[in-house]
Structure formats: structure tokens, C-alpha cells
């Protein structure tokens, strides 16, 4: 029984860590711009696919992974420069549709540049599961969790300890005020796209040895990441992390104990339940209506 629960826990945390990373990407861009970037899943896809193809072409894995992150960051910056920046001042919903268009576009390009098949990547440190209290844990799960932890810690340091991080926070809190005190909000926005893309690609690289990848893995991840971000409270990095992990755990425990056919339904019902009690998500900013 304990082994079983531990198995669900590890499964949930591993998948949840990826949701959390996607949700973090959503949150960073949202804070800088109010844009919900539905192309966030495509960064994850790029991370996995570029690594797979570079690795297959004989590039050593660490280098292939770095290439993938660079490629994703490049795409993220281009997305900001060519699609978001020209539409500056448009309504949030217009910007969201632009990111949906971007997501379709990136998927379309990926199916040409790469192919339409699934691909795998060897696990970073072997595929032999480690037995912990009767639960079989893949070494790659530790990579995913450790990698996610690294990103969370890095972001925390960035926000808490650097001037640039403060500038990003200031922009998130009040764009106009940040601009008035001399923050280059346009740069902050570009930075958010770059960092979000890097985080997404990083998640894609870590998870591919477990989940495989293809040109269209992004859609579902974006969906789950978005739900996780909402559960945690849009705009809160802590919320994104908690929301992602919680969503992963909900799915795995629902699949293992309630119904595998309706595990996503269980997860969504819990999200709805949370939102009815806390309409701003778990860690969202609760604001009194200012009139």
C-alpha cells in the first residue's frame, strides 16, 4: 500500500514538475505583459525535438541540450519581436490569439523541419529503476525534479537578489509605474519571453527520455500548464509551481485510485472546486475592487 502510494507520488511529482515549469513560463510572460502565451507548449516541444535531432546527428547530449535551449530562446525572442511587439497596445485577447497563431505556426514549421514521428532520447543516467520502499523510480525522475528545483531556485534568486529581477517584479506589479521609474518594460517583456522559452525548452529536454516527444506535444502541455497556472493563481511564480505539482499529483492519484478514464475530469473538478472557494487561485493576488 505504501509502495503503491509512493509510486503515485513519484509519478505525479515528475509529471507535475513539467506542468510547473510550463506554468512558470506562462506566469513570467503574463506578469510582464498580461499575455497568456499559448505557444508556451511549443517551447517544450522545441527543447525535446532539437535535442533529439542534434543528438541523433552525433552532437554530445549536453551540447545538444544547450543548442535546444538556445534555439528555443531564439524563437521566443523572435516571437516577441515579430509578433507581440508590433501588436503592442492591442487588447489581451488579441495578443492571446496571436500566440495561438504562433503555436499553430511553430507546430507547422516543426513538422516540416523535423518530421511527424515520435522520438525518444536515452535517459541521462541509465534506465534501470531505483527501488525505494517498494516503489520503482526512474533515475530520470530525479533529473526532472532536480532540474525543476534548479529553475525554481534560480528564478527565486533572480527575483530576490538582482536589480533586473526587481525590475521584472516592478513591471509585473504596475507597468506604468515601472516605466515611470525608468524600467525598460519592452526589454523586460523580451526578457520574459526569452526566459520562458528557456524554461520550456529545459522542461522538454528533461522529460523527453520519459515521455517521448513529437512535433505536436506542445498543445496538451500548454493546456495543462495553463490549468496549473490558474490553480496556483495567475501571476504568482510560487502558485505556478504549487499548481503544477498539485495537478500532476491529482492526475496520478486519480488514475491510480479512482478512475483512469476520468482522471483528467477529477483533476479539473478539483481545480473548479478550488476556484469557487478562491476565485484568484491558491496564491493569486486577491484584490478588493477599486472604484
Amino acid at each position: 500500500m505504501l509502495a503503491e502510494l509512493l509510486q503515485f507520488l513519484v509519478s505525479g511529482l515528475t509529471v507535475g514538475a513539467v506542468y510547473a515549469l510550463v506554468a512558470l513560463g506562462f506566469t513570467l510572460i503574463y506578469n510582464a505583459s498580461d499575455v497568456v502565451n499559448f505557444a508556451q507548449g511549443e517551447f517544450v516541444m522545441l527543447g525535446g525535438m532539437v535535442t533529439v535531432f542534434a543528438f541523433a546527428a552525433g552532437v554530445p547530449l549536453p551540447l545538444a541540450a544547450s543548442l535546444a535551449i538556445l534555439a528555443a530562446v531564439g524563437v521566443g525572442l523572435l516571437l516577441h519581436r515579430l509578433a507581440i511587439e508590433p501588436a503592442r497596445g492591442a487588447s489581451a485577447v488579441t495578443l492571446i490569439i496571436i500566440t495561438i497563431g504562433a503555436s499553430i505556426f511553430l507546430r507547422g514549421i516543426a513538422q516540416i523541419v523535423f518530421d511527424k514521428r515520435f522520438h525518444q532520447l536515452p535517459a541521462f543516467s541509465g534506465a534501470d529503476p531505483i527501488l525505494v520502499a517498494g516503489a520503482a523510480i526512474l533515475p530520470q525522475s530525479f533529473w526532472v525534479l532536480g532540474g525543476a528545483l534548479l529553475v525554481f531556485a534560480g528564478l527565486w534568486l533572480f527575483f530576490e537578489r538582482t536589480l533586473l529581477g526587481k525590475a521584472v517584479l516592478a513591471t509585473a506589479a504596475n507597468r506604468l509605474a515601472a516605466k515611470l521609474v525608468g524600467v525598460d518594460t519592452s526589454f523586460v517583456l523580451a526578457l520574459s519571453f526569452g526566459v520562458s522559452a528557456a524554461i520550456g525548452a529545459f522542461a522538454g529536454i528533461l522529460i523527453t527520455p520519459i515521455t517521448l516527444t513529437s512535433f505536436d506535444v506542445g498543445t496538451l502541455l500548454a493546456l495543462k500548464g495553463f490549468a496549473a497556472a490558474m490553480l496556483g493563481g495567475m501571476g504568482s511564480p510560487l502558485g505556478a509551481v504549487v499548481g503544477g505539482l498539485l495537478l500532476g499529483l491529482l492526475e496520478s492519484f486519480a488514475a491510480g485510485t479512482i478512475s483512469s478514464a476520468y482522471k483528467d475530469a477529477v483533476a479539473f473538478l478539483v481545480i473548479l472546486g478550488v476556484l469557487f472557494v478562491m476565485p484568484q487561485g491558491l496564491f493569486g493576488r486577491r484584490s478588493v475592487e477599486r472604484v
Binding site: V288, E289, R290, V291
Partner: protein, 297 residues
């Protein structure tokens, strides 16, 4: 007007012992007022005194932590805003809440919502009832736009109207509900003297129609000129209440809010002839810009 006061009627709107806290901060504590038909009641006080919060509680947007609100004798403390509106309570906002996507006319037409009874089905299928409603609403709204001097701007999207016009548009929209109590949150804030004077007129007319007007205003001249009764808030508490003259001379009010300069302004404002003539020159002398007044915020 101050010289020969007509007898006062029964209070139409009564707030008693209103209190509310935001995250441990006591924003309002035991505040109350009475508004009577045909009178203007001014609520004044430095920024952060809790004036708008009081309005938000009375109009049902916030739920009071304590106290009760009586509208025409009925307890409406827990009533949602749209019920209060139906009971005859209407308001404007300090931070404009104009319907920016609509034209000026549509803004006021929306204000006639309570006077329209066509129902959803009639609206969907454009039954005669809806057409009659539309026509009646349009006429009433045009009349109100005309009253506030915006008839020629009827078809202009509200988003492209100048600030002063929007202030008047909000008053027209609030009046479109045929209110018995009209609550105005800084109706003249940010307006130039000419616009302020226009609004001054409008308020006087509203009161003359028998509506109880409750007013938050920083422009002390305006306050002193048109209000029958003044309530002064400071840091969430009632500091003083009384006629403009009483309040103006209340030492506590002077110390906390008006300052000597403000008191001088207020006395000038109450001298009606003087105020009309010199409003333009003295625009910058209003309490809003008084450094001492702001210091209390």
C-alpha cells in the same frame, strides 16, 4: 440659500455606525450620516479618510463589517447594488466607470435599465414591447444628455469624450435611474472652473427636484456653496458634522484638514457672489491642492 433654510424632511438615507476593516486596518469605524430629500449632504475629509469606502458600503459594493443602512426606513444593509439601485439609490465614481465601448447616448440609455421591462425574449425577437422600450429609453436618455449639455455628442463613443464631459455623462447616467438618492464621488475632481460651475448647477438642479444628494468633494468652495449639511471624516472616523458654517469653524476640522488656508477658501466659497466671480482665478486654491490637506492622506 443658507440664509432662509426650508424645514427639513425625514431622512431618506441613513447610515449608522458603519465600520469595515481591510486586512486588519480599520478603514471605517462607527461612521454615519443622514441624507434628506432635496438637500445636498457633503462628505469631506483628507485623502484616505474613508469617504469612497463609505460610498462603496452604502451602495452595496462592499459589505459593511458593522452598522446598518436604512433607505426610506427599510434596512438595506445587506442588499446588493442592483437592488439598492431599484430602491432609488444611484451614484457616480471617483475613478470614472463610464462604459467606454458605448456611445454617450448608450451610456445614459443603459442607465434606464430599471425603467425597461421588456424581458429577454421580447429583446431577442424584437417584440413591440422592446421597440417601445427602446424608443422611450432613447427619448429619456436624449433629454438627460441635453440636460448635461452633451446632446450634440450623443453618437460619439464615450471613450473619445473629454474628461469633463465624462464627469457629466456619469451624472446623466446616474440620473437616468430616476434616483431618490444620488451619491456623487468627487463629481468635479479634475474639472476646470467652468466645468466645475456647470456641475455645481447640475447638482443644485438635482436637489431642487427633491432628490437627496450625497457628495464627496475636495473643492471646498463647491462644498460650502451647495451643501446644506457637511460630514467630516478623518482616518475612518467621524470628525465633525453640521452646517457648512459650523464645520468651517470647527477647530478640529481646521487642524486636521482644512488648515488656515483651506478655511479661508471655504469662507470665500460660502460667500456666493464672490465665488461665482472669482472661481476662475482661484481654481488652484482648492483644498485638493492644499499641501497640508494632502499631507494627511
Amino acid at each position: 440659500m443658507n440664509a432662509a433654510l426650508p424645514p427639513r424632511g425625514a431622512p431618506l438615507l441613513r447610515a449608522e455606525g458603519i465600520g469595515i476593516s481591510f486586512g486588519g486596518l480599520r478603514a471605517l469605524d462607527g461612521v454615519g450620516f443622514e441624507a434628506r430629500a432635496g438637500e445636498v449632504l457633503a462628505v469631506i475629509g483628507p485623502n484616505g479618510a474613508g469617504k469612497t469606502t463609505l460610498f462603496n458600503i452604502v451602495t452595496g459594493l462592499y459589505r459593511a463589517g458593522s452598522g446598518r443602512i436604512l433607505l426610506d426606513g427599510a434596512n438595506v444593509t445587506e442588499a446588493p447594488p442592483h437592488h439598492l439601485a431599484a430602491a432609488g439609490l444611484s451614484r457616480t465614481f471617483q475613478n470614472l466607470q463610464v462604459f467606454f465601448r458605448m456611445t454617450a447616448l448608450e451610456n445614459v440609455m443603459a442607465g434606464r435599465h430599471l425603467r425597461e421591462g421588456s424581458g429577454l425574449l421580447a429583446d431577442l425577437f424584437r417584440l413591440p414591447r422592446t421597440r417601445r422600450d427602446n424608443e422611450a429609453t432613447r427619448q429619456a436618455a436624449m433629454a438627460l444628455l441635453d440636460w448635461v449639455g452633451l446632446a450634440d455628442k450623443a453618437e460619439i463613443p464615450a471613450g473619445s469624450l473629454p474628461y469633463g464631459a465624462l464627469k457629466r455623462l456619469e451624472i446623466a447616467r446616474a440620473m437616468a435611474t430616476d434616483p431618490r438618492v444620488l451619491m456623487l464621488d468627487e463629481p468635479a475632481a479634475g474639472c476646470n472652473p467652468v466645468e466645475t460651475e456647470e456641475i455645481d448647477h447640475l447638482i443644485a438642479e438635482v436637489a431642487a427636484r427633491g432628490v437627496a444628494v450625497v457628495l464627496i468633494e475636495h473643492d471646498m468652495k463647491l462644498v460650502m456653496r451647495i451643501s446644506r449639511h457637511v460630514v467630516v471624516l478623518n482616518q475612518g472616523r467621524l470628525l465633525a458634522a453640521g452646517t457648512p458654517a459650523e464645520v468651517r469653524n470647527n477647530p478640529a476640522v481646521i487642524a486636521a484638514y482644512l488648515g488656515t488656508h483651506g478655511a479661508a477658501e471655504a469662507s470665500r466659497g460660502s460667500a456666493r457672489d464672490n465665488a461665482r466671480g472669482s472661481a476662475r482665478d482661484d481654481a488652484r486654491g482648492s483644498a485638493r491642492d492644499d499641501p497640508r490637506g494632502d499631507a494627511h492622506a
